[in-house]
Amino acid sequence: MAATTPVCEAFDGIAALAQAVRAREVSAVEVTRSCLERIAQLDDQLGCFLRVDEQGALRQAEAVDAKIREGADEELLLAGVPVGIKDMLCTKDLQTTAASKILAGFVPPYDATAVAKLRAAGAVVLGKLNMDEFAMGSSNENSALRPCKNPWDVTRVPGGSSGGSAAAVAASLCPLSLGTDTGGSIRQPAALCGVTGMKPTYGRVSRYGVIAFASSLDQVGPLGRSAVDLAQALQVIGGHDAHDATSLPLEQPDYLAACQTPIVDKNRRLRIGLPKEFFAQGLDPRIERCVRAAIASLQQEGAELVDVSLPLTKHSIAIYYLIATAEASSNLSRYDGVRYGLRVTPCDGEIGPGQSALVEMYKRTRAAGFGPEVQRRIMLGTYVLRSGYYDAYYRRASQVRTLVARDFAAAFTKCDVLMTPTSPVLPFRLGERLCDPLSMYLADIYTISCNLAGLPGLSMPCGLVTEAGSDRPLPVGVQVLGPPLHDAKVLQVAAAYQRITDWHKQRPQILTRPGAEAASP
């Protein structure tokens, strides 16, 4: 089946697309229609979207076109740019479920701040993207609603938890999406799907209207085609929000200007730190080759390489699974069948003497509504928060977390950014890791410490690897980490890399236009 190429693909980035919409060279409605058409053609097989809001999207696009006709388009930095939203963010009047059965039918009465800001900038929300249930997972296989496949090879996972957000951009269903990142949930799927994705500094983007998983780690961020596109998106969605007490009360820097700034000038060279713990045992050597080549190409541009060490890296997964599950067990206690979502009411005979019908309703609702991984994490989190265990687990993990942040701070006295692999493994096959939760957790080894320290982190494509016996190349991602608040530096380095390479322009072969040259590395 020949899939049509959406209109957005003809433009060099979302700023150029928005410019063309504002100049009325193409209408927001045409752009939106072409994305909807491609979704209709391809998404049955891919499973990126949980819900496509065709009518709502066309209404938004018409409103954008009307504003432009009236000349009221000054603020529309993303005029007519189609976006997909991870199902973790509330969208007004559009069902939001965190890919969980427990939120079936929930229609939020308001937009998350990040979504509201996108809409105000003229972006068009196409629908809600697939994910692991409550963002708990690294493969998207924990979605309670439908599986999501990697567009480069549909027998493989897209990564997670923002699997739909990464796969939709990779498959050109939309040029931009929003994800959330608690332990790598934007960067790891970006790496596995060959797109660029960024987790900003904790507090940069408001979490208002974002379904809470682990509140001290969760952060919203964009996924797209290039660092420049992410810069444009972050400029729009970031900034202080009085509705989120952890949102940073700071002006945002000019991210787009940072992207144009060279990494080396006559006064100063960029210093790239290579943490030795991130190039250790367990890293696929084919991934290591691609990542080292990416770093070498920036070295050729004049960057200086510095060896650094982050000795507490080995503890990051343990810290993460204590903190994230503890916070999740508390956050997810709100799903009890009272105010929204699923309710399972016990029958008369099921309530024993001395039992409360209300409590029995809670227990049945939660057992029926949460999937196995979510229940496992609620149990672990509840256990580590129990009286007598709190100091040994949650408090100790939060203290070691401080030491992890100090490790990074020490490393950043020697360098401006760190560059590492994003994932130690290539996209794995569906089902391959499902039966062993701990092995799935270990896939996040390179992304988790960034959340613990609250750093800005970005993953971008840096190569393709074809496995023996396969004809399908699989993407490899390189991660750039910066000190807290240095989001602009991270984007600057990524943009510099993307000026001299074209890995971010590669598209999955199966989806290229018939007759056109197949993308080749």
């Binding site: 904790y202 503890h315 206690s333 007598g388 040994a392 701990l438």
Partner: protein, 118 residues
């Protein structure tokens, strides 16, 4: 410190009883048949996390935010918010502007009807 938490670095198993109590606290109805599997999975993760006990954390404060910030205060002023109706729209059961739930104490009528009292 409870010896149950500390020390047993090998095969530190959470007992079936511990699993039952935790499930009760977590408000999860847990079939008996799920307990052995959950017990071994959680034990494996906690055994893995035992490595944190090696780290010297004396005098180290816990961390929750990357950028030291003060808890913001806002003025005590009334603001417009969504209507009660929109807040109630997603309720599985409601009467008037109340969320209706089964009986809080005892078995009672386990349906969702609101009896008009309380």
């Amino acid at each position: 410190m409870s010896s149950h938490v500390m020390g047993q670095s090998n095969g530190h198993l959470i007992s079936a009883d511990e699993i039952r109590v935790t499930a009760e606290l977590a408000r999860l109805l847990l079939p008996e048949s799920d307990i052995p599997k959950l017990s071994s999975e959680l034990s494996a993760i906690l055994a893995y996390a035992e490595s944190l006990q090696e780290v010297d954390v004396a005098g180290v404060p816990p961390m929750t935010h990357a950028v030291p910030t003060q808890c913001p205060l806002r003025g005590d002023v009334a603001e417009a918010h969504d209507s009660t109706e929109s807040a109630m729209r997603n309720a599985p059961a409601s009467e008037a502007s109340f969320f209706a739930v089964p009986a809080v104490f005892g078995g009672g009528a386990a349906d969702d009807s609101f009896d008009g009292e309380g």
